[in-house]
């Protein structure tokens, strides 16, 4: 029975993030529009967009190969699997043990790897720009993310996300500089990885600075829909991760019962909303930076992560 509940919870979480992610995007857009004193589209607009894209036919470039057609599915499923491993409203997921934080980072890396390849596949210049810059950003963002992972796992003694969350929830770690630094690092990485301002601008095309949108420029129809969905999933994943690790309050423990689950769900939704709101505020308040400033931005994240680890040693040995 417990097993079945665990499986159910796991399945529900997977579907939940899938269902919620366009909403999150819509929410962020709405908030941004409001902050700019526009009315903005409905928060449900992303769902409509997805539906429209899914029903359209695909136009493939003549030079596109089989890889180009496979990549959207690959990217989507890799991100989805990664997202499924991040606890949202309840910890102790059924398949938690299949992959830990490092594996989640690497799964996202897989998605990016293939997306970048797809960007090169058609042989048009914009795809190349996108891929090249995406990999440049990733080459700094990924280590920074891993540094954050190191801080957490050195603190909690595990790289298992549920256990980390559990540890932070129960053991009363208290406020730690290292954690703060790790959170900053993760935030910066999240901005970069999701192509948000100031690293990238998800709302524009045809800017010399664009990264993610350039990479997927040749996609259309259902392929584009999958990629957009994967992007939305990724944003949700990062926000969930931030929520799960740094604000684990309200998260249900394994087999905690329906009320706890419900409470956890509400808490999770609230956290996502707050996160989305803050993201929108941050994006509105800041200007897009030049591409070759990005390395400084991300390098800072890497250094913050490393500093977090070192400070951890100091505070531990005191």
């Amino acid at each position: 029975m417990a097993l079945i509940i665990d499986w159910l919870v796991q399945g529900f979480q997977m579907l939940l993030v899938l269902a919620l992610c366009p909403l999150l995007i819509g929410f962020v857009r709405k908030v941004k529009a409001r902050l700019l004193r526009r009315r903005g589209a409905s928060v449900l607009q992303p769902y409509r967009d997805l539906r429209r894209l899914l029903l359209k036919e695909v136009v493939l470039a003549e030079s596109a190969s089989w890889l180009f057609r496979v990549v959207p599915y690959l990217v989507f499923s890799a991100v989805w699997v990664a997202a499924a491993l991040v606890p949202t409203f309840a910890s102790g997921l059924a398949f938690n043990w299949t992959a830990d934080l490092i594996a989640i980072v690497a799964l996202l890396g897989s998605a990016r790897f293939f997306l970048a390849l797809a960007g090169l596949d058609v042989g048009a210049s914009f795809g190349g720009i996108g891929s090249s810059r995406e990999m440049m950003i990733a080459s700094l963002a990924e280590p920074a993310m891993l540094m954050m992972v190191f801080t957490l796992s050195l603190l909690a003694g595990t790289t298992q996300l549920s256990s980390v969350a559990q540890y932070l929830l129960t053991d009363g770690v208290g406020l730690r500089v290292s954690l703060l630094l790790a959170m900053l690092a993760l935030f910066i990485v999240a901005i970069a990885e999701n192509g948000r301002i100031p690293v990238d601008n998800p709302a524009t095309h045809l800017e010399l600075t664009m990264v993610h949108e350039a990479m997927v420029l040749e996609y259309s129809g259902r392929h584009l829909a999958l990629i957009e969905l994967a992007a939305a999933l990724k944003l949700t994943l990062y926000l969930s991760l931030l929520a799960c690790v740094f604000t684990p309050w309200g998260m249900a423990e394994a087999q905690a019962g329906w009320s706890a689950y419900l409470l956890g769900l509400l808490a999770y939704l609230a956290k996502l909303a707050v996160g989305g709101f803050l993201l929108a505020v941050f994006e509105t308040g800041i200007a897009k930076m030049r591409v070759f400033r990005v390395d400084e931005f991300l390098g800072a994240a890497l250094m913050l992560g490393l500093l977090g680890i070192l400070l951890l040693f100091v505070s531990r040995s005191l």
Partner: protein, 670 residues
């Protein structure tokens, strides 16, 4: 007894090498040579696998050859059996590949005699149980591979490559000679058993470590001793490159492990720090070098440097743990290193073989002149893609598992008491993470520019898919990459005897009994990974989404010209190139590490010259290490050379001075 199982294949390899000395110009001689090499490798592979899996006691054999008073000692134990598996697996696959690929060889008489001899030499290094045999075969291995590097001696640069290679190999051998000198003592206890039994002072042991790092490290490609590697590996015929990069560097790792972990006794804690630091520097610089390359095979060769760095990070961790009697941690680190050894031999061989197919199909190694090969060579592309993903440490493939294990070993570093290590290990972790991320970029570039996009030259446009034998070899390796990635527990269990033999009988817990074949190196609460489930999930959700979308939404597709924001450009030169792909990273890292300078030559309006951008890179290892050294040698040689042009009178003066000096010495000495 099982040693005899190796002697047969070895004799076969050497015999067929001798046959090729005289018969390599005959028709079908390549089939004979590669066929017999393949058979011998498979036999030896079987023998070594059996030894590794059944883990019997070490078996020894002494042949009345070599040094007269000791003879040639051979021995196979868990460590050598593991590396024998790698060597013979590589040997079997490359021989099979050679069966197909060998037809393209223009100078078979320069390849066929040395190829089996090279395989035999690598086997012999692993079997050697005394210093003499070890070094004899070690240097013989260098010599044979040098001969293979020189096979295409008329191509520009290959002579330089061969020269640098053999010289560095000679230097490495000298360092090992000195190391064995210390281990053997003045009375010449060259047998490894004597060395194991001998006790060395701290200083002597440290000396051995440093010398071994130089000796084995130069062969493996540790920074800054790697300079020969990116020159020599690409110069050889591709299947030999695969052997050199995928297998011979592992033999070097074996040499390091044999001496440092087996013969040298208990390590001091700072050994780990030295090895770790070297490994980290090597890993990061190796991948940065690789990113700057346009030559596909050279890129792969530089990437070997990176992977060697990763392996040495694992070994350094193991040393640090062992020095502090944390043998569980050491077991983890050792397993990670050995796993990576195995992985790298798989995917690097795969990639080099793939590049060989590209080379023989197009005649090009320069990525800027390739492109679009996925259309003409879909199978090669698929295998190369799997290799690229594996080497970029993407789950669920094998490269990720060994990196994951290394990370796990890094994460238990707080148990280390020394402060230097406490601080060093996370920094090494950052370096490892950085190099992993850069590796991803590097292989997006390698695969993307070579196989994707549109062909940049007619040669690339008219490439033909390679032959089936070569493809089989590629897919065997690709399949092994996938298998090792989804069933890592089995590999870890196979490695366990090796780890136990080097680590005071401490090994990782048996993995095969874990539910769902999950990899749980320490405890489930700490960390676990299941590549098989990850693969299943991805495949499942991928198929599910595809199915749903095709059923419920649209499944129409139409071909049209590329959108490219409305300005499609038919000229394939307008695509992103290898150089432009690497430009952001070059700007980020290259300007510091390689003093990268971009120079744009923009003609004035009205001038019809094409605009050009040139990039200049400086190699710090050459600039600060080797070039000054060469300068010194040349200067001294030039100065001394005046002595060739003296008059007889001045020569007599030399004799006279020597005489007076000695007489004075004698007078004073008394």
């Amino acid at each position: 007894m099982p040693l005899y199982w190796f002697l047969g294949p070895l004799a076969g390899l050497l015999g067929v090498g001798c046959y090729a000395l005289v018969g390599s110009r005959r028709p079908r001689s390549d089939a004979i040579v590669y066929g017999i090499s393949f058979l011998c490798s498979v036999l030896a592979l079987g023998a070594s696998l059996t030894h590794l899996l059944t883990a019997p006691a070490a078996s020894t054999l002494t042949l009345p050859l070599g040094l007269p008073w000791s003879g040639v000692h051979l021995r196979v134990d868990a460590l050598s059996a593991f590396f024998l598996v790698i060597v013979n697996l590589g040997g079997a696959v490359t021989s099979w590949y050679g069966l197909g690929h060998g037809r393209h060889e223009q100078a078979p008489e320069r390849v066929l005699p040395f190829f089996p001899a090279f395989l035999a030499a690598m086997n012999l290094v692993l079997l050697a149980d005394d210093a003499f045999t070890f070094l004899l075969t070690w240097e013989f291995m260098s010599l044979m591979s040098w001969a293979l590097v020189m096979a295409h001696h008329r191509q520009a640069g290959n002579a330089h490559a061969g020269y640098v290679y053999l010289l560095m190999a000679g230097m490495g051998t000298m360092a090992l000679l000195l190391a064995f000198g210390v281990l053997a003592g003045a009375d010449g206890g060259y047998h490894f058993a004597d060395m194991r039994a001998g006790l060395l002072s701290q200083q002597a042991a440290a000396l051995v470590l440093v010398l071994t790092l130089v000796g084995a490290g130069s062969k493996a490609g540790l920074f800054p001793l790697h300079v020969w590697l990116p020159l020599a590996h690409p110069a050889a015929p591709s299947h030999v490159s695969a052997l050199m990069s995928g297998v011979m560097t592992k033999v070097a790792v074996y040499g390091f492990m044999r001496i440092v972990f087996d013969l040298l006794g208990e390590p001091a804690w700072w050994w780990g720090a030295v090895v770790l630091a070297l490994g980290a520097v090597t890993a990061v610089l190796g991948v940065l070098y690789a990113l700057m390359q346009h030559d596909l095979k050279r890129l792969l060769a530089y990437h070997t440097v990176e992977n060697i760095g990763i392996i040495f990070i694992g070994l350094g961790l193991a040393l640090a743990f062992q020095a502090n009697y944390l043998n569980d941690g050491a077991a983890l680190a050792l397993s990670a290193a050995l796993f990576h050894v195995f992985n790298h031999s798989l995917f690097k061989s795969l990639l080099f073989l793939g590049s060989g197919s590209v080379l023989s199909a197009t005649g090009e190694r320069d990525m800027e002149r390739l492109g679009g090969l996925i259309h003409r060579m879909p199978w090669t592309a698929l295998a190369f893609l799997i290799g690229s993903a594996a080497i970029s440490a993407l789950p669920p493939l094998n490269g990720f598992v060994s990196e994951w294990l290394t990370f796990q070993a890094i994460l238990i570093s707080p148990e280390l008491p020394q402060w230097l290590l406490k601080f060093l290990v996370p920094a090494v972790g950052a370096a490892l993470a950085l190099s992993a991320a850069l590796a991803g970029a590097c292989f997006v570039k390698a695969f993307g520019i070579t196989f994707l996009g549109r062909p940049r030259t007619p040669a690339a446009a008219q490439a033909e898919e390679t032959d089936t034998r070569s493809l089989t070899a590629l897919f065997v390796l690709a399949a092994l990459c996938v298998l090792a990635g989804i069933l890592p527990g089995l590999v870890i269990d196979a490695l366990a005897p090796v780890v136990a033999s080097l680590n005071g009988a401490v090994r990782l817990a048996a993995q095969a009994s874990q539910p769902w074949l999950t990899l749980v190196p320490l405890a489930e609460a700490k960390n676990s990974y299941n590549g098989m489930l990850v693969l299943l999930f991805i495949v499942f959700s991928g198929f599910l989404s595809a199915l749903l979308i095709h059923r419920l939404a649209s499944r129409d597709a139409r071909r049209g010209s590329a959108w490219d924001c409305g300005f499609p450009d038919d000229n394939p030169a307008g695509q992103y190139t290898a150089g432009s792909f690497a430009q952001p990273i070059r700007r980020m890292f290259g300007s510091v590490v390689f003093q990268a300078r971009e120079r744009v030559d923009m003609p004035a309006p009205g001038d019809l010259r094409p605009a050009r951008m040139t990039v200049s890179l400086r190699d710090p290892a050459w600039d600060y290490g080797y070039l000054p050294l060469i300068q010194v040698v040349n200067t001294v040689a030039g100065r001394l050379n005046h002595l060739q042009f003296l008059t007889v009178r001045r020569y007599l003066t030399l004799v006279f001075s020597a005489l007076i000096l000695l007489l004075l010495g004698l007078a004073i000495w008394r």
